[in-house]
């Protein structure tokens, strides 16, 4: 009976986790063997960041079924709050506990913000919800850019105007310097830390999906009215999924921040463009499939590198590849063709075989 079903889902989840572990082991082996050049080496932490963001956004878009276009905002908050903490305690704490706490703070602050934003946002539906999340994402980016925080013997000084308004003492130190952001965050992010964050996020989401809570969240996606008629607390589960997703995005942001010498809230890093890129991962990965989202994130992050030999044409090719992949993956005829000719699609699991 259901035993078969349970093992099948568990097997799938184990497969995803095994895939991550094997990938990690292979990369580590290649690095030890000196097969990874410094450029590729530098890509490893961003890869983990983007894959974690894909897991986070998939929870909202694929599993809860609400379109969020502001996830870069949560990552931004996680990045700045954790970097702020690390700067404040750079001298007074050891690296490991400090970084661990920084990551938790990144997740916590983003989670609190996600909760607060979720209260108004989750009352809306469809495209209206999407545009409001986009708006919140842009507001976060904008506010971070006018935030000045400094520290001196008297404590912390905060201003939204300019550096001078802080009234910092001579020996004071700027921590967040408006549009210049935070400079000199300790470089604590390593591939191993990134991998652990990705792995933990993946396990949390997969275990949750395959449980009472996950089914309730998916029931809201599939039919909100039926879910309510069965006594599923719709609003509470929406908030839960949205907040958890923000927490994961915040942790990814912390990882991101501790990999940069200067953390600036530019549109390219934390604007809607970035949020949309995360959405591309989720949709290309097959909407709802955590594994697909991770693979899509990795492929799309590496694609520009692979295309480097194309020089100026690489982003053009990237765009064409994206359009073609979308059409091949989603056009009803090509879908039927793929289904008929190969039992295993090239990656991820589509909607209908879940």
């Amino acid at each position: 009976m259901n035993f078969k079903q349970m093992t099948k889902t568990s097997r799938d989840n184990l497969g995803t986790i095994a895939m991550l572990v094997v990938a990690f082991a292979v990369v580590q082996a290649l690095r030890a063997g000196g097969f990874v050049n410094s450029h590729m080496d530098g890509m490893l932490v961003p890869l983990c960041v983007y894959a974690t963001m894909a897991v986070s956004l998939n929870l909202v878009v694929g599993i809860l079924g609400e379109l969020s276009l502001g996830h870069a905002g949560f990552m931004c908050v996680g990045a700045f709050s954790s970097a702020f903490f690390s700067k404040c305690f750079e001298q007074s704490m050891g690296t490991f506990p400090r970084f661990l706490i920084a990551i938790l703070i990144g997740g916590l602050v983003a989670g609190v913000l996600g909760f607060l934003i979720g209260i108004p946002v989750l009352r809306l539906n469809g495209d209206y919800l999407a545009i409001v999340t986009l708006a919140f994402g842009e507001i976060i980016k904008n506010l971070v850019n006018v935030l000045y925080v400094g520290r001196d013997a008297a404590g912390l000084h905060i201003s939204m105007r300019d550096q001078a308004a802080l009234g910092l003492a001579e020996d004071g130190e700027m921590i967040i310097n408006g549009p210049q952001g935070i400079t000199g965050t300790p470089f604590n992010s390593t591939f191993t830390v990134g991998f652990v964050i990705l792995l933990v996020s993946t396990i949390v989401v997969l275990n949750l999906v395959n449980s009472r809570e996950g089914r309730a969240i998916m029931s809201i996606r599939d039919n909100r009215i039926a879910a309510g008629s069965l006594g599923i607390p719709v609003t509470r589960y929406k908030m839960f999924a949205f907040t958890l997703s923000a927490v994961i995005a915040g942790c990814a942001g912390a990882l991101y921040a501790h990999n940069l010498s200067s953390l600036i809230a530019t549109p390219a890093r934390f604007g809607y463009n970035m949020s949309i890129l995360f959405l591309v991962f989720v949709v290309l990965g097959g909407i709802g499939s955590t594994r697909g989202a991770i693979i899509a994130a990795i492929i799309l992050t590496l694609l520009p590198e692979v295309l480097r030999f194309m020089a100026d044409y690489r982003m053009l090719i990237y765009a064409v590849v994206l359009i073609v992949m979308m059409i091949v993956n989603w056009n009803p005829k090509s879908r039927a063709f793929i289904k008929a000719h190969s039992p295993k699609k090239w990656f991820g699991r589509g909607k209908e075989d879940r």
Partner: protein
């Protein structure tokens, strides 16, 4: 005391009184039919009963407790479950999972034990699976537990919706046109199933139906709605013999 007591229920949409001065008493264990021509306001009554709409006037008592104007979620927890005229399954989930979502509030465990896969997760999931399979078995759906619910044939989708509603262990089950789209054989099976769950699960059932064979075959009492108002109510046989009812269905002459 009656299980369900509705007094003077009305709802106004703009200038239209879709349901007007509706009264109904359903006793514990009864199988009660709500019939009437299309657009008479039957589904609106269900929507009022389940909290999808808020009534303009009137009181709804379930087991003596006032549930008027409560949310759909609260009303389900108070003991009312329903099916929908336009089937509302969780299409991207399996047949089994559809029923397990119905069991959500009956078999709780925390999100933490789900994430950490604590023993309470495994134990409760096992109980849920057993209970869900038991319900599916009633409707002969246990063989298709792992099928994606949207892949079921139409008649089975309707049955799955009943099983899912029953999973919330309601005192009162509302079925909105359960036989719509079924062939005579399927309808026959459905009638047996409805009788079976009433006997074995102690369910009180209120149903909307157009299929007169089903209505006359299993309902003990009927209320006929026409243009939002009660035309007549009483024992099935008497109601169906009422010339007013025949007129409402077949028109004048």
């Amino acid at each position: 005391m009656a299980l369900l007591e509705i007094n003077n229920l009305s709802i106004q949409f703009g200038g239209l009184r879709a349901v007007d001065d509706f009264n109904l008493t359903v006793e514990q264990g009864e199988l009660y039919g709500l019939i009437g021509p299309n657009g008479a306001g039957k589904t609106t009554v269900f929507n009022l009963l389940t909290g999808e709409y808020k009534p303009t006037e009137g009181v709804i008592l379930l087991d003596g407790k006032d549930i008027t104007g409560k949310s759909a979620i609260e009303i389900n927890r108070a003991g009312v479950a329903r099916t929908f005229q336009n089937i509302r399954l969780f299409k991207q989930q399996s047949v089994l999972d559809n029923v397990k979502i119905g069991l959500h509030n009956r078999y709780p465990y925390s999100a933490v034990s789900a994430v950490l896969r604590l023993p309470s997760y495994y134990a409760t999931e096992k109980q849920m699976n057993e209970k869900a399979m038991e319900l599916l078995h009633v409707f002969d759906l246990d063989g298709e537990a792992n099928t994606l619910s949207s892949n079921l044939p139409y008649g089975k989708q309707r049955k799955l919706e009943i099983a899912r509603a029953m999973a919330t262990e309601p005192k009162l089950l509302l079925l909105d046109e359960p036989a719509a789209g079924m062939n005579p054989n399927e309808t026959e099976e459905l009638m047996e199933d409805i009788r079976y769950i009433r006997e074995n699960f102690g369910m009180t059932i209120l149903l909307i139906e157009h299929d007169m064979r089903l209505v006359s075959g299993i309902c003990e009492k009927l209320t006929v709605l026409n243009f939002g108002r009660i035309l007549t109510q009483g024992e099935t046989k008497e109601v169906l013999a009422d010339p007013e009812v025949i007129k409402a269905y077949l028109g004048d002459e």
